[in-house]
């Protein structure tokens, strides 16, 4: 005959079961549902294949020996040293100049030709890396003076063939790339986050403690 479970133990088991179920439920809410609620998703106006454009074997006209140099071909600097950021249509039409004759065979390019090049309309890209208003960042100080590669902060964005949806924090309005894709805020690569501590960490590691002064990055 089975031994009857003691009422007190039974209560413990039941309570423990509810606790575990509640705990898992809370974890799901915190780690899965909360980020879905917190971040809005917006598709970019059109796709852009970075991997294709950065491949000199496939794209005739992209210049530069290293990946960073090829990035700078489109995302370059003005003469005064300021960063051009996301290229304007004029940069695209240096190569894609004739709406009637696309350079590739993709439907995306055809749509781009008809929608933007033929109408001479700027593409309203959404910037993944826009920092808050109080932050000053000089690309040239890092890329030319500091000799950093683009991927140190931007990761493998240049190797993607499909650009991801733009996600913005609904509370702050900042891009998700600033906090990082992981809701835990942990990072394994230098490009996982773009917060103040990440800037400071790199400055310290490279022996530039003086660049952790407030007014270097704040304005």
């Amino acid at each position: 005959m089975e031994k009857p479970i003691k009422p007190s133990l039974r209560a413990w088991l039941e309570g423990g079961g509810f606790f575990v179920a509640g705990f898992i439920g809370a974890l799901v809410v915190g780690w899965v549902i909360f980020p879905m609620v917190l971040y809005s998703k917006q598709p970019q106006p059109m796709n852009f294949n970075h991997a294709l454009h950065l491949n000199p074997e496939k794209v005739d006209g992209i210049q530069g020996d290293t990946e960073t140099e090829r990035c700078l071909y489109c995302h370059g600097f003005y003469d005064d040293g300021t960063f051009k950021g996301i290229p304007r249509l004029a940069a695209c039409t240096e190569c894609h100049d004739d709406p009637e004759s696309p350079l590739g065979k993709t439907l995306e390019e055809k749509a781009f030709m008809e929608e933007y090049v033929a109408k001479n309309k700027e593409i309203q890209w959404l910037s993944y890396y826009k920092q808050p208003d109080c932050v000053y960042f000089s690309h040239i100080a890092h890329v030319k003076n500091g000799k950093l590669d683009c991927r140190v902060c931007h990761g493998d964005h240049g190797k993607t063939s499909v650009i991801p949806d733009y996600e913005a924090n609904r509370l702050t309005g900042y891009s998700r790339n600033i906090w990082g894709k992981r809701i835990s805020g942990l990072k394994t690569n230098t490009w996982d986050r773009m917060k103040m501590d990440d800037c400071a960490e790199c400055h310290s590691q490279k022996g530039h403690e003086e660049n952790n002064a407030c007014f270097v990055c704040h304005k």
Binding site: F77, D79, D80, G81, T82, P132, D133, C134, Y136, S138, I140, A141, K144, N145, E210, A213, C214, F215, V216, H218, K219
Partner: protein
Amino acid sequence: MEKKHGPAKGNSYGMVIDLDKCTGCGTCMVACSAENNLAVRPDESDKQRSITWMRLYKVTNGKEFPHAEVSYFPRPCMHCDHHTPCVSVCPATATETDYHTGIVSQIYTRCIGCRYCMAACPYHARTFNWWDGYFPKGKGLERYLSPEVSPRMRGVVEKCTFCHHRLMRAKTQAYAEERKELEEGEYITACTEACPAQAITFGDLNNPEHKVTRLAKSPYAFRLLERLGTEPKVYYISTKDWVRKLGDNYLPGEFKPISTVKAG
């Protein structure tokens, strides 16, 4: 805890204002406000509440005509080098002296608005935002806002930054030309650039070749409340004894006019 710092390493940006040249026109104030996104109040005539980083003070020698004389003191932040009063009292570390540029920073997103720094500053160089910045809509004022200077929100203290964004701009230009050091005159403040009388000189006080260093050593050069020992980096020049005397509080007979110093 007090940090031990020597004199500024690297650069020590400072300013020399020649009061003999200053006409009191106020262009420096206007240029500063336009450059640094200073908001306007609905009633700008209320000077108790309006904000300005560069304030112009009028002083007179107190004598009757025909001996009356007038001089003007343009007063930016003094960017004190030693025991910077505002920095030493800030409980939020929202302001600090950068010992590589000599510039006293003010980080609005870090400021908690306690206004302790305003009480500590002997020069009244700091002002408090009682309201959010107001830029009248439909008049085009918002289109003149500079993206290089962040606008201030309600509840924070602001002050002159020696147009710090212009230093960043000059550095960016230098990097584009593959230089690391700035030439004299590449980084000057908006007030320096705007002054029609060219009364303001701006440069690196640590660089003996810069004009400011030479001017600051003039026998006619003085600083406001110099004997407080805060080592301000804004120097004034006046050949008039009564103007120099107004730069500090002297006991009777304590102030030495230049003529007697030379004779003695």
